[in-house]
């Protein structure tokens, strides 16, 4: 699965996700990636793209759940993303990661696997890229 989240000069957020699903999937199985609210969500305060065991992202409405925590509890990207990805989904038996960005420019890369391909760049910055959990990228949760 791949995904991207951005905020533009107008302060508008967008999120997108694309995937091939799971190896050996059957019966036209569909995971969370195309399910709005599970694998992808964006509103005026927060945007999320997920990557992980899709059934658990659907059952926890992961992407919307993260943004609801930002909107209604005032949590940061790291707090909300960490709570849903690294606590709620893990408690259900799932795993994976996500991108979270908030309208104030905060962002986070919560994940609970040995690694997640990830990267960040600002409009005038130098791109930062990481793969494994042992590499530290600002925003890692």
């Amino acid at each position: 699965t791949v995904g991207a989240v951005a905020i533009d000069a107008q302060g508008h957020l967008a999120a997108g996700t694309s995937t091939g699903g799971m190896t050996n999937k059957r019966w036209n199985r569909v995971g969370d990636s195309p399910v709005i609210g599970a694998g992808t969500w964006a509103d005026s305060r927060c945007a999320v793209s997920g990557t992980g065991w899709g059934e658990f992202y659907i059952r926890s409405a992961a992407a919307h759940n993260i943004c609801a925590r930002v909107a209604h509890r005032g949590e940061s990207a790291a707090q909300a993303g960490g709570k849903v990805i690294n606590e709620e989904i893990v408690a259900l038996g799932g795993d994976g990661g996500a991108l979270v960005m908030t309208a104030d420019g905060g962002y986070a890369f919560p994940f609970n696997t040995p690694g997640m391909y990830r990267g960040w760049v600002s409009v005038d910055g130098t791109p930062q890229v990481a793969i494994y959990a042992s590499e530290t990228l600002q925003g890692d949760v």
Partner: protein
């Protein structure tokens, strides 16, 4: 707020999973996706355009499970899903189970912008893509040998487990 872009190419990768060439290729593709999105943001364009541009780079790279490089279904096909959502107005588009659309994220964008619907699936989604003039490719475009071998290993494992535990529910075997 400073315009910015964050991307992922999937979770679950562990040290030792990748060859040196694969790791270099994946890092280069991530970097290219960031630069492509950055150029769009620098031009004052929208977050939507930056997101789609970055994802197209990752879909076209063989190192990630999306577009070219996607994993195989049990039947040996590539079935692709994608979605896009905008915070401004909460518009959304999504597609599932497409097999010939070169960049599924652009089809999700077309569903959002050019239809009254949010999600299209399968053959209908491909017909919509054709009507809208989106690039279609032969299914072989998505195939990589690494993903094909991953499927063969899974099928072999599954055959072994079925022989040993033929009374186990199919769903349990599927989710492991």
């Amino acid at each position: 707020v400073t315009p910015q872009l964050i991307i992922h190419g999937g979770a679950g990768v562990a040290p030792g999973d990748l060859s040196a060439e694969e790791e270099r290729g994946a890092r280069a593709a991530l970097q290219e996706a960031l630069l492509r999105g950055q150029a769009i943001l620098k031009a004052g364009k929208s977050a939507q355009e930056a997101v789609v541009a970055a994802i197209v780079v990752l879909e076209d790279s063989p190192y990630f499970n999306a577009g070219r490089g996607a994993v195989f279904t049990h039947e040996g096909r590539n079935e692709l899903d994608a979605s896009l959502m905008l915070g401004n107005g909460q518009r959304a588009g999504a597609v599932a189970g497409v097999r010939r659309v070169k960049n599924p994220i652009t089809l999700a964008q077309a569903v959002m912008e050019q239809s009254p619907h949010v999600m299209l699936t399968g053959q209908g989604a491909e017909t919509f893509a054709k009507e809208k003039g989106l690039p279609l490719v032969e299914p072989d475009w998505f195939r990589t040998e690494k993903r094909w071998q991953q499927l063969q290993r899974r099928l072999a494992e599954e055959a072994g487990k079925q022989a040993a535990r033929s009374d186990e529910a199919e769903y349990r075997r599927y989710v492991g």
